[in-house]
């Protein structure tokens, strides 16, 4: 009888451990890529909008850059309407912890807009305006 009880305890503990190990190691659902940064600016001649995303969390992070170019449309009481002339989305880049990826968007119209898409909402994104001839940064925004 005593042996049966011990056996039962052993089996129960084994089962509990197996369940816990499964819970601890079960792969998480792969979340969809969502916009995590959206920046629109008007650039001067020879200026570039540069976005840099860097990943310092656990596992890997997917990152994609979407860019849109606008031209000025009609003006009404000083307010310009901007019209989309082109839009494209980059290939997906997979970042390991500690890696970064960036895109340079040149000034091809009145304004440019860049959207960073990722499956990790806490991926860090910086945006900067770069003077193309010198490569110098002349403005920046730091994301969370």
């Amino acid at each position: 009888m005593k042996c049966k009880v011990r056996n039962s305890i052993a089996i129960a503990l084994g089962a509990l451990m197996a369940v816990m190990m499964f819970v601890l190691t079960a792969p998480a659902q792969h979340p969809k890529r969502k916009p995590i940064a959206d920046i629109g600016v008007t650039l001067g001649p020879n200026q570039i909008l540069r976005l840099v995303g860097d990943w310092n969390g656990d596992g890997v992070a997917d990152i994609q850059f979407r860019q849109a170019v606008y031209v000025q449309g009609g003006v009404n009481n000083g307010v310009y309407k901007l019209m989309l002339t082109s839009q494209s989305t980059s290939q997906t880049v997979t970042l390991m912890p500690g890696e970064a990826a960036s895109i340079d968007i040149p000034s091809n119209g009145f304004g440019v807009r860049a959207i960073v898409l990722s499956d990790k909402p806490d991926l860090h994104v910086n945006a900067m305006i770069v003077d193309a001839p010198t490569g110098n940064i002349i403005g920046m925004l730091v994301g969370g």
Binding site: A10, L13, D54, A100, S102, V125, I137
Partner: protein, 152 residues
């Protein structure tokens, strides 16, 4: 004998399970901890990234800086880091309420750079933004600056 063996296995399994669930405790200085990250910057020739942490009201805190240097390459219009080439961490520095600490990071032949400030031991009650990030041109002029939240 057989039952003793089973019992030993059960006991070992139980201890193993407990060890996975037990919280890990590390000796940390008293007070709150925060990490301020600049993110990755690809600087122009001669430009430097400067991060300054200001002391907080009525309390001391310990600041440590970590600089990371990258190289990378472009493919299809996307530049990506290929390697962390170098990383250095400064010695812990204690700063008082009216003091500050800063560090510069130039690219120095690398492709990109990043700074982290690790703050420990903040025991104050105020919550303020007291980190400043600057990009300095080779002639010493400020190209851009902004305030970073400390998250304290």
């Amino acid at each position: 004998m057989k039952h003793r063996k089973i019992f030993s296995i059960a006991l070992t399994a139980c201890l193993l399970l407990l060890s996975t669930l037990a919280p890990t405790t590390n000796a940390q200085p008293e007070g709150r901890r925060a990490v301020v990250r600049t993110g990755v910057f690809r600087l122009g020739a001669g430009q430097i990234l400067r991060l300054t942490i200001d002391g907080q009201s009525n309390t001391m805190m310990v600041v440590q800086f970590r600089r990371t240097y990258y190289v990378g390459s472009a493919n299809g219009g996307i530049w990506k880091t290929t390697n962390v080439v170098a990383q250095d961490t400064s010695a812990p520095l204690t700063i008082g309420p009216n003091e500050a600490a800063s560090i510069d990071a130039g690219q120095g032949g690398f492709d990109a750079v990043r700074i982290e400030a690790i703050i420990r031991g903040y025991t104050g009650n105020t919550t303020v933004s007291a980190g400043t990030l600057q990009i300095i041109n080779s002639d010493g002029s400020v190209a851009a600056f902004l305030e970073l939240p400390l998250g304290l």
